[in-house]
Amino acid sequence: MDQEELGKLEARCIQEQPPACVAACPVHVDARAMAAAIAEGDFASAAKIFKKSVPFPGIISRVCDQPCQAVCKRGEAGGAVAVRALEKACLAWAEGGMESGFLPPGKDKRVAVAGGGLSGLTAAFDLAKKGYSVEVFEKEARLGGSLFRFSREQLPEEVIAADLKALEKVGVTIRLSVRAGEDISLESMCSDFDAVYLAPGQQPAGGLGLGLDAAGRWVIDPFTLGTTNPKVFAGGSVRRPPGKRSPIESIADGRRAAVSIDRFLQKVSLTASRSGEGPYETRLFTNTEGIEPLPATPMSAGAAGYSKEEAVLEAKRCIRCQCLECVKVCEYLNSFKSYPKKYIRQIYNNLSIVMGHRHANKLINSCSLCGLCEEVCPEDLNMGLVCKKAREIMVDQGRMPPSPHDFPIRDMLFSNSEKCALARRQPGTSACRYLFFPGCQLSASAPDHVKKTYGFLCEELEGGVGLMLRCCGAPAEWSGRAELFSDTFSDIVAQWQEMDRPQIILACSTCYEVFKTHLPQASVISLWEVLDSSALPDVLGEGAVRGRALAVHDACSTRHEKHIQESVRNILRRLGFQIEELPLAGERTECCGYGGLMFFANRELARNVIGRRIRQSEADYVAYCAMCRDYLASGGKKTYHLLDLLFGSPPDGDAQRKGPGYTLRRENRARLKNALLEELWGEKPIGMEKYEKIRLRISDELRELLERRQILDSDIQQVIDFAEQSGTKLRSSRTNHFLAHWKPAAVTYWVEYAAAEGEFIVYNAYSHRMEVKEGAGP
């Protein structure tokens, strides 16, 4: 990932875009932050936020024409937030003195401003604050221009006077009763001053000799407010159609002119990096669904404005516009307490770091890669793709920590070892029109279902149904091990070609996705589509009652496979079940916690994901992926596998069964292969390793601990085998138990045990990855 790619990805997360009110405001008053402060009763901070953006807060808080109102998202639920009234309230109720103004050292350049209305005075104020010497020429005997058109009730003269005092403070010179173009010509202004801002309200007759358009109006560049004379800028009401005055736009013009004049006098570009000035449309998306409508807070004191309490109430109506669409639906994104824009930056930094702590490893490895974020993102940003890419880079750099993925990768290698992997044509036929690929997890979780389904397919389908038992390689792909994946998958492709390229029937949605992506030349079909188009076996699983509603948990890898989701629902309907749709279903379904190897990288998060998912409905669930079923059931939810309803519950229990542990999962796969080899193909089963014959006695309590520690019976058997063969073990003088260790690959396993009547009682086992250098020495 390079800087450019990073920038593009970051830009797609819109959480940091300004809310609509701020973007629509010509001077970008941060109304959201102001309302947040008022809602906390902090009027002083609110006033500070407001004053930061406007030069004459008293005036503006009474006469602003509020372009924010039309775009306020609260407008969709009860009416726009009364921003101007809140501005007025924060000035009224702010406690504490005036902020001390800081003036930079004076500059030797002079600026003339013609027109003492809001626009001219804003330009004068901003330029004086930058250190320029500014003179304002006003044709009337007082400053304020069209401000006096407002009623005195709305805008008392004292408020105008108080606000305009700010001009004195910054040292602006005021020349009253001087009409530009008559009492002082533009030529003399241009020769006496370094730049001129014309804000006369109305264009003087004759146009002072500046270039005019076809309608006889000054030619003014809307971006810089420059005229045909490079020293002269013009703006304010003179730019608006007659009768369309806008106090806030006049201020914005004054501010824009001040920026242009400052740049002009500093001889830098008038146009570079100015896109944020003036009103624009924000890209921020804010979902108002489910927001309870609330009408605007009434003002009990009328024109005097909000009381403190009323202002707080009104400020609380602000919905604090933000996006967070993905964070709302994804426990992973939520659990790291920020949002994708920040995450992407953290991930980038993590990949770029040469020396130091890599804080984002867990962030990168915890994502399920399920793609729900992309579905809900207004800009289709997919954090899964970012995390997957990051994992690949980490593996490439040799920076992928071994512990998160080592165990599932070893499990994959076991599935693809001679002990479990199998590829055969249908017994008794050389034709192979179809190939059933049940997937490693169904074989591990419910081997009986694999047998029955294969039998059913052989009966139903003509032309020969081959069988391939193994893992599709998804764990390698998820963990960023591209090379390992490619090696694994090429074995499958070779065998598929050898079997005359049959159509592949997939029981696992992840396998389906892997085959569809990496073997596009193959015809693939989901088992559910096949079953949907045949007569159904229907040996209902234990406890399942026809007519009752089942909530369907769609596998996240079927997100864009509507036909699979439909087939599943058809089968359920044909079996006589009602279907309940979960709030997140179909293309918005969520992962069960297994995808992307989340469970192995962040067990606590995966448990929360499961917990959140199983609380979405009271109904029993039905899943059509072995891992989804086992994970949801591990949280205590009654969850059927769709095959439970077709072929009956497996021997180890009904929808409440927790699913086999790691050791049994491996044994199930190996036994399945041997059973099928013997029963269907009449072949000799694969022999056992010597250590596998060691019989262990393990209490239920210890079994649970071993599961959490990811220690398999075969690990324990190997330790005991080594210890008993070599005699290398410790003995307790207290209990006579033995303690021995063995390091078959990356992990060292320790086992405390005792021999008893042809078996070994296991008391404890633990492991570590750190390598201990042993051997005789001083």
């Binding site: 005699g727 073990k729 410790l730 260790h741 320790w750 492991s767 570590h768 750190m770």
Partner: protein
Amino acid sequence: MKQKDATPAESEWLCSKCGLPLEIGKVDVGYLGSVFPVDLYRCSQCGQVFVPEDIAQGKMAEVEKLLEDK
């Protein structure tokens, strides 16, 4: 990483092969290219080392995590 003083649970182990009680000694423990000398119980004759459960699941696991993220 320093092993705490001998507790009954730790000093109860003998090397089964050599029949000798274990003694504290410096053992090199390494991970991902980093190596630290650590005080661990070991057999003074054959060098068999004892890593107690609390160290494997505690301090060692912490250091492993630290080194993996380094």
